[in-house]
Symmetry: C2
Subunit: 207 residues, 2 copies
DNA sequence: GGATAATACGAGCGATAGCTCGCATCGACT
DNA sequence: AGTCGATGCGAGCTATCGCTCGTATTATCC
């Protein structure tokens, strides 16, 4: 197999018809990844599920990995938007309220499409999407660091970089793990306690 | 392909010769996973790298997944041993010292073979090893919960289950992420600060 | 040394994967 | 209506994969 491991689209969809094709492909890919798993998600199957031929798939994506990478990118965009919105809203609020909002948002973001999220997380390493995801993390990290900077007066003296790393990583992990492995914690009554605890974790650490 | 997704070994190695074969296979699998990745780690390649024939591989493992699962299991045993040792040692020590030891141990455990660790973590979902890993997490969780129970007097009133979940998940994530994505934080001078911060995170939360 | 069980071998089978390419159809513009 | 690029099609090529099985080699025991 000659080296063509590109991840970027082969061409951009110009007309409405082709945009619909690409959308159908991404939609179908997400569906199949969830219902069949990565290994059974062959390009032929994806194309068939999208009501499209393999040939068309390869008009817009240079490889199977590229298709999955596109799905991941779209999902990431959705998640990131949630984070950005909340951080903007929280920017002017005091530390305890802001952190609480953030924690709640993290859970909310993970709830967008948990099953897809799980599959995507598992398959990220196989696709060229690792850098994308890393960039996503970097942005979250930077946004939260900026938030901390703005509220420095309310913190104990800290290394902002390290504090942001520890905070973001912890919140991400707790919410992520809860959503993926502990649905019991996320029942409508229990989720409040999880938010309380995670907020306390971060606040107790920061001040 | 008829359904035979077993993960347990096909037969146990009786003679020294065959035990050597199995060892060579596991060793080679680890090497290839690290250097080539899961997709290029075909059974033929693994066998060749082990200086053994595919036929021999299938004498001891019913499938490729089973080989990888065995590598994961071995790695998990190593990690778990570290955790158990430290928790035993920490059991009788006060909270702040005990937690600190645990955090240090978590970093130490992740350092056993980071590159292999990373690949294995990435490939766990594809193998039948998910339950094994879940069991591993459950044990860590239970051990730490027991530790908390023993030191309940030093804690604020907490739901032990929830507190153990939040603590273990956070420490795991911070150390894991640091080892895999932030080698800068783990330089010999910086690692102390990471331990300090993570310890503070957990202690501030627990009391 | 001969018999038997354990272990090792590796050519090759069947299946499926990713992907190409020559051709058909559609749609925007004149 | 006619042109031509954009889009869509899908049979089928090549590569590789996981895995089997008949055979060869080695160890063990009498």
């Amino acid at each position: 197999m000659p080296p063509r491991p590109l991840t970027s689209p082969r061409k951009i969809a110009a007309q409405a018809r082709s945009r619909a094709t690409v959308d159908a492909l991404l939609e179908a890919t997400a569906r199949i990844l969830v219902s069949e798993g990565f290994d059974r998600a062959s390009t032929n199957r994806i194309a068939a599920a999208a009501g499209v031929s393999v040939g068309s798939l390869y008009q817009y994506f240079p490889s199977k990995e590229a298709v999955v990478a596109a799905v991941i990118a779209r999902h990431n965009r959705d998640l990131m938007q949630v984070v950005r919105d909340v951080l903007e809203e929280a920017a002017s609020q005091p530390l305890d309220e802001g952190v609480r909002k953030l924690v709640a948002a993290a859970i909310e973001a993970h709830r967008i499409d948990p099953t897809l999220h799980r599959v995507l997380v598992e398959q990220i390493p196989r696709t060229g999407a690792l850098e994308d995801v890393e960039a996503f993390n970097q942005e979250t990290f930077a946004l939260f660091r900026a938030y901390l900077e703005r509220h420095r007066a309310e913190l104990r003296p800290v290394d902002l970089d390290l504090a942001a790393f520890v905070s973001v990583t912890s919140v991400e992990a707790v919410t992520h793990t809860a959503v993926l492995h502990r649905p019991d914690i996320l029942s409508d009554e229990a989720v409040g306690r999880l938010v309380d605890e995670t907020t306390r974790l971060v606040l107790g650490y920061l001040r």
